[in-house]
Symmetry: C2
Subunit: 310 residues, 2 copies
């Protein structure tokens, strides 16, 4: 953990917490998505259908995901083929006609799921949630306005009128720690719990690289110019469809000018303050200088990465 | 260039070819997108409007982008605010009512632009192209089917009926070289020019990390299992809206089983064969063993990275 280049592979093989929403053990079986007969053949009595409450997970008394069967499913609902599990069972999730479209933040039920679900189950839930909410937001063709229908086992929607094909969205978001003189730049959004500071973040836009997005967002939000952007790790974050791309960068000038529409504060924290804040998370406390992001967020991992590589 | 960890910053500062479509010098001026008065104030006689032929670039006799003025613009067309150039001029591009939606591959005019345009101009074109084609594909609300209108200077569309907000898509794609015993795995798609082999690639799906997408795509397309995925560099690729995420990984078992719906061949190439193929690109030739991807593709950079880090 102390090597200069701590690869994502190391992150994934580390002890808990791993990257939340990564590590699904469901085989996506991409090759049969376009084969309706093969998907139908998996719709047996043994097939599993993930139960959701809106977009929230439903947990069993044992703290696992609640999987029902096709017998419980609504025959009128659209069905997404998630893949094949280790017992060779087809895994599905329904898109109810009243499925919510999902917001940009994780709610209490999702945070609870992150704390209790085993990694593979949490990943299965996250992938299913992202797909269901995408279908709920794409029942019409953005090209011509006519209704779309589910295709390719739920990995596509096709326009009933103009035949345009639409694919699930994955929105790349850069999230970055910035270092200057042994201290780390973290910011505070107004919606954060009291005392919380976290990594700055923002969507990658058309026409820029990951590194350019890191530099632009850091300058927009905190007025800080960065160099030498390094990739650290990524995380699927299904609220509603982000791919968090965790990076680290360096600043030569520590002067901060915050964008008050995004942040209410940004500060440089010492290594000791970050170590203290990370330690406090495990005790359910806030650190002495600030509260670190929760263990399941990639921002937490970025802080750990910075501390552990020394 | 021979260091073990060749960072994207090095790539960006290297001599030509840099990463095509990166390096725009237009300030996106995100803070004024939501300020119609500020955008209007930039719509002066000095404002620049990028000329496009459909989605293709229009080049001047000197081989630069052809920028017109607002006087040339169609008053009925939607106008996207691209940002502010180094001379403090507002930069815009129109979305004509008949704007094409754009396909998944670069056409001859785009390949020509990659070879003749200066890096900053190519990036300005790429960003503008991705935005125009996104608007052309999102004139209706995917949530309710009613017409959308341009908002926030073209960085959003808003539904005229349900007020849903829609944002430009950026689709993350993994593209990866895989190494085994000093050789590199490359594949050949049927649409490639004769002799061409390139890095395998595929879209990141909901519910997976970048590393998981690399592993899944390599196994799906070539039957090869990988470990220790490393990020190398990224590239915006506006056909129509990809973010190419270039990675390198390692395989323990070289046995190949290709997916014939994606590839017509995949092979392991020696370092000498890759060096020869890269050298041939500059002479407009195919290498002795295979033809390398063109200099402007991130796949070319991945091959160079592998050769140069030794």
């Amino acid at each position: 953990m102390s090597s200069r280049f701590w690869r994502p592979a190391d992150v994934l093989s580390a002890t808990r917490p791993p990257i939340a929403f990564a590590g699904s053990r469901i085989d996506r079986a991409d090759h049969i998505r376009a084969d309706p007969a093969a998907i139908a053949a998996l719709q047996t009595a043994g097939a599993r259908v993930l139960r959701l409450d809106g977009l929230d997970p439903v947990l069993t008394e044992q703290g696992g995901l609640d999987w029902g069967t096709l017998a419980d499913a609504d025959r009128g609902a659209e069905l997404i083929f998630l893949g094949i599990d280790e017992a060779q069972r087809g895994c599905f999730v329904e898109v109810p006609s009243d499925a919510p479209s999902g917001g940009p933040h994780a709610g209490p039920a999702s945070w609870n799921a992150m704390s209790v679900l085993e990694a593979g189950e949490l990943a299965a839930y996250g992938g299913a949630r992202a797909l269901v909410s995408w279908h709920a937001r794409h029942r019409f063709c953005s090209f011509c306005g006519q209704p779309t229908v589910l295709a390719k086992g739920g990995w596509q929607r096709t326009c009933s009128a103009c035949s345009s094909e639409h694919f699930p969205r994955v929105d790349p978001v850069t999230i970055m720690t910035v270092e200057h003189d042994g201290r780390l730049l973290l910011g505070r959004q107004p919606r954060f719990p009291a005392g919380r500071y976290s990594a700055l973040a923002g969507f990658v836009e058309p026409g820029e690289t990951i590194e350019e997005a890191v530099a632009r967002e850091t300058f927009e939000e905190a007025g800080v110019r960065v160099r030498d952007v390094e990739y650290v790790a990524s995380q699927p974050w299904p609220f509603p469809s982000s791919l968090m791309i965790g990076c680290h960068a360096y600043a030569d000038d520590p002067a901060i000018t915050i964008d008050t529409t995004e942040l209410e504060d940004a500060r440089w924290f010492t290594r000791g303050e970050v170590v203290d804040a990370l330690g406090a998370v495990g005790r359910g406390e806030s650190g002495r200088a600030f509260g670190a992001p929760p263990a399941y967020a990639v921002a937490h991992l970025l802080l750990r990465w910075w501390v552990e590589r020394g």
